[in-house]
Symmetry: C2
Amino acid sequence: MNPSQHSDESTSDFTGRFRHEVLAAVFQVRERRLHSLLWRRARSPFEGDWALPGGPLGRVELLGSSLSRHLAAKVDLTDIAYLEQLETRSDVDRDPRERTIATAYLALVSSALNPSIPSDTAWFAVDELPATAFDHASIIQSARERLRAKLTYTNVGYALAPETFSIAELRVIYAACLGHDVSATNLQRVLLRRHIIEATSVTATPSASGGRPATLHRFTERTLLVTDPFAVFRPPSERP
Amino acid sequence: MNPSQHSDESTSDFTGRFRHEVLAAVFQVRERRLHSLLWRRARSPFEGDWALPGGPLGRVELLGSSLSRHLAAKVDLTDIAYLEQLETRSDVDRDPRERTIATAYLALVSSALNPSIPSDTAWFAVDELPATAFDHASIIQSARERLRAKLTYTNVGYALAPETFSIAELRVIYAACLGHDVSATNLQRVLLRRHIIEATSVTATPSASGGRPATLHRFTERTLLVTDPFAVFRPPSERP
DNA sequence: GGAGGTTTTCGACTATTAGGCGTAAACCCT
DNA sequence: AGGGTTTACGCCTAATAGTCGAAAACCTCC
């Protein structure tokens, strides 16, 4: 093979152009369960089914900016605490109308918020989804797995939790995302040791049901930090 | 906001179409260092600089298939042991000729192979890259980080190592990817405990330099397995 | 065929981290 | 004040990681 055979570029003007859309799995913990924001389709295809919010990419727009714009415009959602690109889907007939490539994002909303959303959108518990449009159900699954993984080796929790919270509240959030029970003792110990959360000096206002008021904690950083997952094989002498 | 304002779809025929290409950071451990396969550009822009292998997406082609096709056609590379989608770059002027969206992949090649590659391609150690074209250098960085992370909580090592190997050989591979020294004792103990590798009954042929011949090991599975990274917070009673 | 060198393997010991549990602390209400 | 409830925390055990050194199994050379 010689260089002159690398001819794709010389014919690039004849290669395809593709419709491109951005989508987001918007997650929030509501009533002890992980929910995703869905939007009811008013027209064919998949009329009446529920779809992820998003929309077409603009001509001079970045993928991430495009998504923020669509979320703000379509579902009045501007308080996205965390946004991360997930994956790009390219199945030729994922949209029956025209081939459309979709780049999916994971978006997280604090459980302290209750954003006002349009009447044709709703929150659904991710393990009780309604009939969904396109390949959106499988995108939600990918997003769940990404979130599960990130929760364990990063501090993304800050995007789901309120500014300050009790360990019990945090436990609910982690359990909802991970899909299994979580030990409060271990959760607190591990997150403290990793310096992901820290105690504040204030305690929660006592609840009517009695009980010792919890000391409120906060996330030390509110930007993404990964707790070095390479520790296993690294000589301890070189650790931070 | 009411449903009739979700109008992007009704105007979808007027939204942009975009050129889309696939790229791969093809990694292999060569001479104790992590290398990436690059391709020398014969024409403007970035003439003479080195670029990731890849090419334009076909009209009815999946991203992954497209990449395999380009790798096979352009660099005679058919022995990709592992392929994973990395991220999609959308910067408007990442290609000065025309806006081109790129989906980047991570591809791994066994260190036991020495594929014949065209004369205008070459392997470069990832920490001594030549002048690179477009945003390809930063894609290589992303790929390195992904590889580092995956090595620690999955068995992707199978894609980089030979069928069977001594612990010493495996140590070299891990060290090259992680960028720091690795303890052979811990490496063996951790991977054995996780059942990622297992000992075979054969020993390596003794080297000319003497020394006890190593027992050869192999990866238990040669498909991707993630060692549950959620163990930290999960009640031990529920673990596999 | 033994001596000395080289490389791998393995066991012993220590340090660190995770998990379980019970008790104390700090609030509620009556 | 006493009973109920929830959180906090210390103690103990188990599991995993890290260090080190000795032994095993090969080589070459004398």
